[in-house]
Symmetry: D3
Subunit: 287 residues, 6 copies
C-alpha cells in the first residue's frame, strides 16, 4: 500500500509565472510521454508481475517515485498560472512573447475548468488515455516499452528545458532529466540480467543534451521508496544499484527516498476564478 | 512525495478464479466510477488546492489511500485469471455459467494484451480517460463531485458483491464498500464546515445495501496515510475525524494507515502466455 | 416525444464578434461541464427512470430545457465568428488582444471544419464524450452528479462572464447562470424529499459570484417544457415548485416554457468559407 | 427552443426481454450510425445554418424528431433488461441461446453502471463521440453526410430486425426503418433543389430489405415537429412534402408530429441493483 | 500487397515556412475529413468487399493513392516547421501575424513530441480515431460516405488554400483539390452503375471554389496504382475511366500512377530538438 | 508514393470459420500492438526523418510491408466471419465452444456495422487511436519504440497462434511471427550502428515461443518494397541485410517484395446482411 508526506521530492520554484509554459508542461503530466503514464505503467507492471520478485519490487519503487513527479509538475503548472497582478486576465496572459507564440497562448481550460489548476491532459488539452499503459506479461517487451517511455520522456524534458529561461523551472527540469537518465538505465539492467548484451553508447537518450546541465548527483541513483528500512533485504544483489552505469560515466548506487523539496505553497484563489467565498477568506490558513 | 510497502491495505483472496468476474472488476479499476479516477481526482484537487490547508492534507491522505485500492483490485483481477488447470484456455474460461452469461465471457485482452494481467480500462475494455478528473478550483463543486464518485463507486461495489459468491471476493468488497461509506461522509463534512446543512437520511448511498454486510469497523475511520507521525499536528480539530457520522450510526475516528493484507502472491506465468523463458524459470524466486 | 419552435429561450446578441470568445464558449457546449452533457444526462436519467414518476417528469422537463441552452450557445458561437469585414481572415482574428492571448487564438476548426459554425467539442477541440453521462439507477447518486454538473457548469459560466465585456454575451450568461442557480437547487430538492437534510449556506455554487449580476427573475423558477397544459396534474405537490429556495433568498415557483428570445438571424456565408454557390445566393431568403 | 410530452413517438413493446438484444440496440443509440449522432448532427446543422431559411427549418424539424427516436430506443433497452424473474442474474442472462452467442452476452455495464438502464455508448460499450457530428458549412457536403447517416442507419436497423424475433421489437423497428426511408429521401430533395439530378433506383438503402416489412404509412411523410400550427407558412412549396418520392413508389406528404405510442412504463428497480430504498418503495406511484 | 518508390506523387514546396499553417494542415492529415481517414476507409472497403470485383479493384487503387497524399501533407508539415534561423524558437514562431492569430500559434506538440515532425492528429492535436472508418457492407451506403469524405475534404482543402499565400503550398493544394474533384465523381459513378440517376449540377463540392485554380489536368483522371501493367484487363469497361464527367466539364480518363514530385529533402534536425548526436552529424548523408 | 498489386503477401486460408477468432484477430489490426499502428508509425517516422537517408528508406520499406499485413488480417477476419450455413446467425455463432467462451462471443459490430467485415478497432471494439504513433524526432527513442511494438506484436501473435487450431490460421500467423522476428532485429541494427552494444540473448521476444513453429525462411530477411530495381543503390552496406542476426541463429539477407499469397476470394454477401441487391446478384463476377 502507499504513503505520503507533505513535501515535494525536489524543489519547485517559478521565478516568473508563465501560463504558456504551464500549457507546455501539461505534456509531461498527461501526454503519452508523461508522468501519469509511466507511473501507472510501472505500477500495473508491478501488480501484474508473475516473474521474479526482484523486478516486482523495483517496479513498485519507481512507480511510486513517479507519483511524486506528477506532483512536482502539477505544482509547477499551478505556480506558472499565478501572478502578482490582481487581474486573472493578466495572469493568464503572461509577458513572454516568444513562449506565447510557440505554444499559442495558454490552455483556456486552465482557467475555465481548473480555476488556475493543472489538468490530467496533454499540451493540447487531450485527456490522458489508459490505452497507453503497456503491461504485456512479457518482461522483455515491457522493459523495451519502459526504456521508450523514459527516452521520449527525457527528450520531452530536454525540449521543455530549451523552451524556458526561468531559473526555477530549469532547476526542476535538471532534476527530472537526471531521474530519466537513471530510469532508462535501470530498465536496461533488467534486460542485461535476462541475457541482453550491453547498451553502451547511445545513452542517455537523447545523447545530445549536455549532461552537465542535469543534476548528475541524481543520475545514477536508484531511489528506494519502500518505507520498510529492511527492504531490500541484506545481501540482495541487483544490477541497478551497483556496478558501472550503462552510459559508462558513473556507478549505480541506491538511496532511500527523501524529499529535497518543501511543502508547496500556492497563491490564494483569485476572485475572478470564483472559488467559494470561504476558500478565498481562509486561504493560506492552517485551519 | 510518496512511499509504499509491499503489503496490501486489506487481504485479497480468490477461492475460485473466475475470469468473467475479472472483467467485471475492471469497471472498478478503469471505469468512470473506478479507483484510478478517484485516486487521480483527489490528488489533483490536493495539488491544485489554493484554499485552507486542512483540505489539501485531507485530499492527499485519501488520494494516497486510493492507490492501494487500485492495487487491491489489480491483484484481484490477476488472481481471478489464474487456475489450477494447465491450459490457458480453461483458465480463461472458468466454470461459472451464470457469470459467463452476465458479462459475456472474459475480456480477451486480459490474455491477448496482458498475459493474464489487469488493464487500465473498464469492463468493456474502454480505456481510462483523464477527462473524468474534476478539479474545478471551487471546493464545493469539487466536494459534490467527490460524493458522486463515492456514491456511484459504492453502488458499483455493491453490484459486484451481488455478482460473486466467492467468499474471498465478498470479503474484499465488504472492505471497499466500508471505505466508500466513510469517504462519502468525509466529503460531506467539508461541505458542512463550509456552511452546508446536515445530510442525514440518504446515506450511505446506496442505502439499500445492508450495512451488516460491510466491514463496519472501517466505515467511520479516516485513514491517515501520512508517514509523519506528527501529522496532523496536535490539537487539529477536523469534523471528519470526530463527532457523529452523517448516517447517524456511529462516530468518526482516525487511524494511521497500516496494511491489513499480505504481500500478494500471484501464480507463475502460464507457458501459453509467452512470458520470457527466464520469467517462467525464475518465477516465485526471490532473486 | 419532442417538439420545437423557431425562437430561442432567451435572446442571444453579440455586439462585437470575438472568435476567441467563440472558442471559450465551446467549453459550455461540448465540455464535461457543458450543456450537451447535462441535456443527455437528464434525458437518459428520465428514460431509464424506474422510481417515482414525479422524478421522471422533472428530469424530462429540465433535459428538454437544456436542448434550448445548447441552441443558445451554438448561436452565440456562430455570431461571435461573424464580422463586418469582408475577409474571413479578419473575421477570425477579432480585435481583442487580451482575449486572444487568453484562449490562444480561435479554434482553427471553426473555420476549417465548420465554415464558421459551432462544433460538438470543448474549448480545446476535444470532442464531446458519451462516457460523461451518469445514469446509475440510484437516484441519490444521480442527484449528486446533477448538482455537480450544475455547480461546475455555473462556475464555468461565471468565468465566461468574467472573460467578456460584450453586453449581449453578459446578458445571455446572466440568464444561463440564473438557470444553473435553479437547477442546482431542484436536484437538492429531490434529495430532501428522499430524506436528506437542508443544504443552506453554500448555495448557489460558486457563492462568490454576485447574484445581483444574474437575472434573478429566472433563478427560482422551475421551467415546465411539457406542451400538455394539464401537466403536471392538478394538486401535484412538488418541493421544487413551491416553498423557500435552498439558498434562503427566494421562493420556488413554476412556469410553462416560453421563448424570451427571437428567431436567430445569422449572417450569410462568407465566400471564403466555400459554401455551395446556391447557399450564398439565397442566404437570408425565406424560400 | 424545445418542448416535450410524455408519450413515445411510436409504441415500444417487448414481449420477451432479451438483454443481449439490449446490447445490440445500443449501436442504434450511441454508435456512429445511431440516433444521438443524427439528432445532434441535424440540430448543429440547423443552428449553424447560414443558407436559405427553408433548410434550417427542415433540419430543426427532423433533428427534433430524432430525440424521440433516442427515447424509443432507450426505452427498448430498459424493457429488454427486465424480466419476470426475481433474480437480477437471470434477468441479465435471458433465455435466447442464439442471441447470446451472437452478441456475446449482455453489456456488463448495463447492470454495473446503469442498474438496468441504457447507456450513451455503442454495442461494445464505446462512448458516443462528438467528432462524428458533421456540420461543414457547405450544404451539399452536409446533405451527403446526412444521406450516409440514414443509409448506414437503415442498414443497421434492418440487421437488428433480422436479429430479433420479438414481435414488439420488430414492430418498433419497422417504424424506425420507415422513418429512415423518408429521411434518406428528404436530404436528397435538398440536393435536387440545389441542382442535383434524380436518384431513382438505389433507394431506399439498403434496397434489399423488403419494404413490405416496414410501416409504409410512415415512409413518405415529413414529420413537422414545430408546435406553431402556422409553420410552415401557407404557400410554402417544398420538394420533400409533395411530389413523387425518389424511390418511385409513393408521394411525399407532411404531417404534424403526434405520438403514436404511450407513456412508457418500466418495471420497478430490482433489489439487486441497489437503487435507493425510497425508489424501490415508491416505484410506480405517481407521487 | 503494397509497394513504394521514394518520390512524392506531386511536388511539395514551401517558400516561406509557417508553423501555424503546419498546424492547420494537420486537419487534412489526421482530422475526420483527412487523408488517413479516406486511405483506411477505401482500403477497408476493398478488403471487406464481397460485391462485384470491379469495385474492389477501384477502391484498392484509390486507397493506395491516398497513402501518397498523407505522405505529401506530412512532408508539407515538416517543411513548414523549418526555417533559416538557427533558433528553434524563431522557427516555430514564423512571421505571419495573420496566420498566427487564426490558428492560435503552432501546435506545441510539433516541437515537444515530434521534434518538428508531423503527427497523426487534427489541427487541435486530437488524435486520429478509427471509429471514422465506414465500411458497412452495403456499397451504396459506402459510396455516399465516400462522396461525403471527398466533399468535406475538398471543402477543407479549399479553405486551406484560402489561408495561405505561399505559392508552393497553393500549388500542392491545387493538385489535391483536383484529385478530390475526381474522387467525388468516381464514387458517384458507382452509384450510377447501380441505378442511381445523374448528379449534374452541384459538383464538384464545394462548387463555389473556382476550378480555374485547381490543376484540372488531374481533375478527371482515374489514377491506377496497380503495378501490374495488365490491370485492368483489356476490354474492361468502367464508367469512371471514360465518358463525360458528372460535373459536365470534361471526360473521364485513366492513367497509371507515376510520381510528379521528387524525393523529399528535409532540413537536418535542429540542435534544440535533441535528436541523437549521430543524426545531427550524419544528416543529409546517403549512408 | 505507393503502389499495389492484387495479391496477398502470404496466403490467408481459413479452414473452419470462427467469428470469435475474428474478434481476437481485431487486436492485431486495430489494437495498440496491431498492424495499423506499426504501419503508420514507421511511415510517419520515415516522412518526418531528418537524419541519415538510409534510415528513412528502411522505414519506408517496412512501413509499406505492414500495409500488406493489415490486408492479410482484414482478409482473415472476413473469412472467419463466413460459413457454409445459409443463416447469418449460425455464421456469426460458429461452433467452437472454447473460443466462444474465451473471447465472449463475436464482436456484434462485425455484423451490425460491418456486414461481416473487418473494423479499424481492437478486440473489444475500441477504435484505433492516432495517439499511439510515436515519431519523436530522436531516432534512438523511436527505435526503442519500434522494438517495443514488434515485441508486444509478436507476443500477441504467439497468443493468437495458441488460441486457434485452424491450420490455415496457424500458417498465416507463423508467417507474421517470422516477420516480427526480423523486424525486432532490424530496429536493433539501427541502434547498433548508432553505437549501441549487441542484444544477443533475449531475442526474439517472446523467446519462449518455439521458433520451429514460425516460418523461419522469412525470419531473417529484410523485405524491400521499393519498386525501383536499383534501390538500394549498388554498394550500399547496411547492417540489417547482411551479417549475423542478433538472436545468433542465422544471417540477415534481403529480398525484393513479392506476393506469396493469391488474390483473396471472399464469399458473396449474405442476404441477412442487407447489401444492395445488385451486390448480391453480381457478387463474384468480374464486371
Amino acid at each position: 500500500m502507499f504513503y505520503h508526506d507533505k513535501k515535494l521530492q525536489y524543489k519547485v520554484r517559478v521565478d516568473k509565472p508563465d501560463p504558456q509554459f504551464a500549457r507546455a508542461l501539461q505534456q509531461a503530466i498527461g501526454g503519452i510521454e508523461g508522468e501519469i503514464r509511466v507511473c501507472l505503467q510501472y505500477l500495473f507492471q508491478a501488480w501484474n508481475s508473475r516473474g521474479p520478485v526482484r523486478y516486482r519490487d523495483m517496479l513498485l519503487d519507481t512507480g511510486t517515485e513517479e507519483i511524486a513527479h506528477i506532483e512536482m509538475l502539477a505544482t509547477a503548472v499551478c505556480l506558472n498560472l499565478e501572478g502578482s497582478s490582481s487581474s486573472v486576465i493578466e495572469t493568464i496572459v503572461g509577458n513572454d512573447p516568444l513562449m506565447e507564440k510557440i505554444v499559442g497562448g495558454g490552455d483556456p481550460r486552465h482557467f475555465l475548468s481548473g480555476g488556475l489548476g493543472a489538468l490530467a491532459s496533454d499540451a493540447n488539452g487531450v485527456p490522458f488515455n489508459g490505452s497507453w499503459i503497456v503491461s504485456s506479461g512479457n518482461i522483455a517487451a515491457d522493459m523495451f516499452s519502459n526504456v521508450t517511455a523514459e527516452a521520449t520522456g527525457r527528450t520531452l524534458a530536454a525540449r521543455l528545458y530549451e523552451l524556458t529561461d526561468d531559473a526555477g523551472m530549469k532547476d526542476m527540469l535538471a532534476f527530472l532529466i537526471a531521474r530519466d537518465t537513471m530510469h532508462q538505465q535501470q530498465w536496461l539492467a533488467v534486460l542485461e540480467e535476462l541475457g541482453h548484451g550491453n547498451m553502451l553508447g547511445v545513452l542517455p537518450i537523447p545523447n545530445s543534451f549536455p549532461q552537465s546541465k542535469e543534476h548528475q548527483e541524481f543520475s545514477y541513483t536508484f531511489v528506494n521508496t519502500n518505507i520498510d528500512p529492511d527492504e531490500p533485504s541484506v545481501g540482495t544483489n541487483r544490477r541497478w544499484t551497483s556496478g558501472p552505469s550503462y552510459d559508462g560515466r558513473s556507478e549505480f548506487r541506491e538511496a532511500k527516498a527523501q524529499p529535497y523539496g518543501d511543502e508547496p505553497m500556492l497563491a490564494p484563489p483569485k476572485p475572478e476564478g470564483y472559488a467559494q467565498t470561504e476558500q478565498i477568506e481562509k486561504a493560506g490558513k492552517k485551519n
